[in-house]
Amino acid sequence: MNKTPPSRILFNIYVAIFLAFMLIPLAIMGGAALNASRFPSVYPWKGFTDQWFIDLWNDDRMLNAAKNTVLVALGVVCMAVPIGTAGGILINSLRGRSRSFLYGLMVAPILTPGAVIGISTLLFWNKFDVPAGLHLSAFGQVSYIAAYVMLLVLARLQSFDKGLEEAALDLGASHAQVIRRILAPHLYPAIGAGALIAFFQSVENFNVTLFTKGTYDTLTVYVGSKVRTGITPTINALALILITITIIGAAAYEVLRRREESRQEKLRELAREAEVATEAALLTGATETA
């Protein structure tokens, strides 16, 4: 590790540049939402306006697309979470070749371009005369999002003590009780994180949805078509709203984290003090008896 000051300064400068590279484009995009220019840009500045937010609110297709997006995302969560959890539990009980074969199959969709997933989903269901639509988008998205849930559950299972299950079974618990009382509580954090990731991955998805959506619109597809054809600053208004929500969420998380950290710090301090006090008490006790 280079702890010499010059390299550290260099690193700090690099981090600052990288953060600027990641965040300034978002600021520019958000800023353009407030510019009265007909084209999305921060330059030249033509004065402040809230016109684009009003336009956004009056864009019925956009609202409808947003509704569809939430619908698909909820569907994806309802399918991907049980499927991914089941897959994780199943693969955790396998060893050797069958394990690596199934594992390969499960993670393959993560490593597949969205366009390929979308087209193959469309073709498969088309064989059974199922037309394209939001349900196909959900199926296509589940194929890779379930893999994320599976990976989270599998990671969580690594810290699971199988002995607890055995003990419960030996003491006469039914299999359903074992799941409900022992396995499920252990998996809740992974399942919760999986549901969250599934929801946002689904909302984010563009490539799979594009090929499977049929005549429906989702938010990403609608925004995608909008930025490709008639570019208007309403997209920037939407972006500014999303960025603001993200920043508020991030700030709230940061505050909570810091508070938790200082609480832990205080607890540690108290523990240290208590330790010192006990030691002192023991020592005095020892000298007194001596």
């Binding site: 590790m1 280079n2 390299s7 690099y14 981090v15 990288f18 953060l19 965040l23 484009p25 978002l26 995009m29 084209f39 999305p40 840009s41 330059y43 499927i83 089941a86 897959g87 199943l90 690596s100 199934l102 594992y103 199959l105 499960m106 993670v107 993560i110 490593l111 597949t112 371009p113 969205g114 366009a115 390929v116 087209i119 193959s120 989903t121 073709l123 498969f124 064989k127 199926f139 589940v142 194929s143 379930a146 990976l151 299999h175 799941i179 946002f200 563009f206 490539n207 090929f211 925004v223 995608g224 930025v227 997209i235 972006a239 999303l242 960025i243 993200t246 920043i247 991030a250 940061e254």
Partner: protein, 303 residues
Amino acid sequence: MRELVRRYGLTLAAVFAGLTAFWLLALVVFPYFFLAETSFRHYLPVDQLGGPNDTFTLSNYLTFVSSSSTTPFLFLNVPIHVYIFIETVLFSSVVTIITFSLAYPLAYFLAKVANVKTVPTLFLLLLIPLWVSEILRSFAWYIILSYQGPLNALLGVFGLHQVRWLTAYNGVIVGLVYTYVLFMLFPIYNAISTLDTNQIEAAQDMGARWWQIHRRIILPHSKPGVASGCVMVFMLSAGSIIVPSLLASPSSRWFTEVIQQWMFESQDWNTGSAYAFLLLLICTIFVSVMMRLFKVRLADIAQ
């Protein structure tokens, strides 16, 4: 399987197996199979499907290599679709290399140099662009790089000439790097942070130079992360639809755009699936090359 039944009973084991089977068969294996199957069939009107003309054929793949218009590439005249395919693979690799060189120093800094207390805050800041969708991330660069945009305005302030940024593959490369660099950063960070710092200090005590430490200790240790990052960035770049369509110039074309043309404009799903299959093939090849090159298992890449 037997263990599953013993632990959770027959009914629950069947539920687990059933859900997994639905996923892997109905959502993964059969769709991929039909993609391949469709790509080897003729494009026919509906009433001829299943008729005598509905036979297996290589014609969809021949379309790929025998397009009438050709483009010069390395002293050769190659068919236009092959050319676009090569360019897509080439520039996806370029994007992969750029994101690696940007992400590796930062991952090392976050894992081993930075103050432990500031790392979560830095991560939070880095995650903000990730939560704002992919389309909007590339849209931001569309605004920045446009001829009348803020970047050229900034150049104007310094008395420099305006530059036409969106030429050739410039815009696409910048957009892809910006959109996907975090997919390189996080796996490498995870890999480096599992390295015991004592190893680095031991090497320093023995008089190793900083580049020797990276070459002999940190890079080998972070191989799984690097492989994972490279696979993700390459796949996302080659399969990207929105970035090339927003930031392309007249002289840059991306393979996914050709796939879209077959699927939506020509409505020829057979040729479309052949092209999609080629995209899948190149990504699979890339994954296996990375696994060989870095000597890692699939479980290390997909984590």
